[in-house]
């Protein structure tokens, strides 16, 4: 049911934009054609990248599942667990709600909140989507952002461990 609601939300958004075009067109018809032309230009730019993203998504969905990731999570200690949290977050695919049950289970098994926080933060770095980021921002930006985010995620994880250790969570 949630899935249906979510997919309809996207269509409602598109419909709202279409209505906006109609309303603006009634008052200022001369802006509609340039706006559509500009939108088409964007579509032409991103279309080839879409094909690469699709291929990468298929590869990731083929080899990585919550079950496969779970095998490696929560098993190690020391600095290695941060690497696993970062790596696990990066390679996790699909919507976030798919991963909440797994993280809840890991918590029951004694995994700390810091690990969960780091895992969730790294879901922001998605290898299949990197071609689009490179297309818009360049590879230098993409690499720097990914490294900074991975570093910050560990800092966030350590902060959460301290907070949990202090008994706040």
């Amino acid at each position: 049911m949630k899935k249906t609601e979510k997919s309809y939300a996207g269509w409602y958004f598109l419909l709202t934009v279409a209505i906006l075009y109609v309303i603006i067109g009634l008052f200022k018809i001369e802006v509609i054609l340039p706006a559509l032309k500009f939108s088409l230009k964007i579509v032409r730019n991103i279309l080839p990248v879409f094909l690469v993203i699709f291929a990468l998504m298929v590869a990731f969905n083929l080899f990585i599942s919550p079950y496969a990731v779970r095998k490696y999570l929560g098993k190690s200690s020391g600095s290695r667990r941060w690497l696993i949290a970062v790596g696990g977050g990066i390679i996790s695919t699909g919507p976030i709600y798919m991963w909440y049950p797994m993280l809840k289970e890991l918590r029951k098994e004694g995994v700390q909140y810091g690990f969960v926080a780091t895992f969730l933060y790294n879901r922001a770095i998605k290898p299949p989507l990197i071609p689009m980021m490179i297309a818009y921002f360049g590879w230098k930006y993409t690499v720097v952002l990914a490294v900074v985010m991975a570093t910050i995620s560990v800092i966030q994880g350590i902060i959460f461990e301290k907070i949990e250790g202090g008994g706040f969570l």
Binding site: K6, S7, G10, W11, F13, L14, T16, V17, L20, Y21, I24, K28, V31, P34, A35, L36, F38, S39, L40, I42, F50, I53, F54, M57, V58, A59, N61, L62, G94, I96, Y97, Y100, P101, L103, K104, R107, Y113, V116, A117, L120, Y121, A124, L129, M132, M133, Y136, F137, K140, Y141, V144, L145, V148, M149, I152, I155, Q156, I159, F160, F168, L169
Partner: protein, 137 residues
């Protein structure tokens, strides 16, 4: 066809098609904004304030990160600062106000609220550090 490959193809196609209406809407909206609103109108010139606005927008909006890349990339082309767009991109994927109720139920109220607040603050820090490092390269 191998069942696993078929499942991977279906999952990927579904994920892509789910994000298409939002992406199409955003692209149309960018086209309209580009034509209607003058460039100087986007955000202020204050990097900190702009990154807070960027993070705020990114926190409220949700969806496939792909949409945020397209929107962010077009905003940069329109003259919006890289710090603003970076904080927007980072907050889009790390702060989840829409998913907050689910996160509260599954992982606990205090953790979920604190994680989202800290992720909001970190999105600004990440943006400033990233742009600073890029300036050095």
């Amino acid at each position: 066809m191998d069942a696993r490959l078929k499942s991977a193809l279906t999952k990927s196609a579904r994920a892509m098609s789910n994000s298409l209406p939002v992406l199409a809407g955003v692209v149309l909206l960018v086209g309209l904004t580009h034509t209607l609103i003058p460039k100087f109108f986007y955000f202020s010139k204050n990097a900190v304030l702009d990154s807070i606005i960027g993070s705020g927008l990114g926190s409220v909006l949700a969806g496939n990160p792909l949409t945020s890349y397209v929107l962010g990339g077009e905003l940069v082309k329109q003259g919006v600062s890289l710090v603003t767009v970076t904080s927007f991109l980072v907050a889009w994927v790390t702060v989840g106000l829409v998913q907050l109720p689910a996160e509260v139920i599954m992982l606990g109220r205090r953790f979920a609220i604190l994680r989202n607040i800290s992720s909001f603050a970190f999105s600004i820090i990440v943006a400033i550090i990233t742009v600073f490092i890029l300036g050095l390269l």
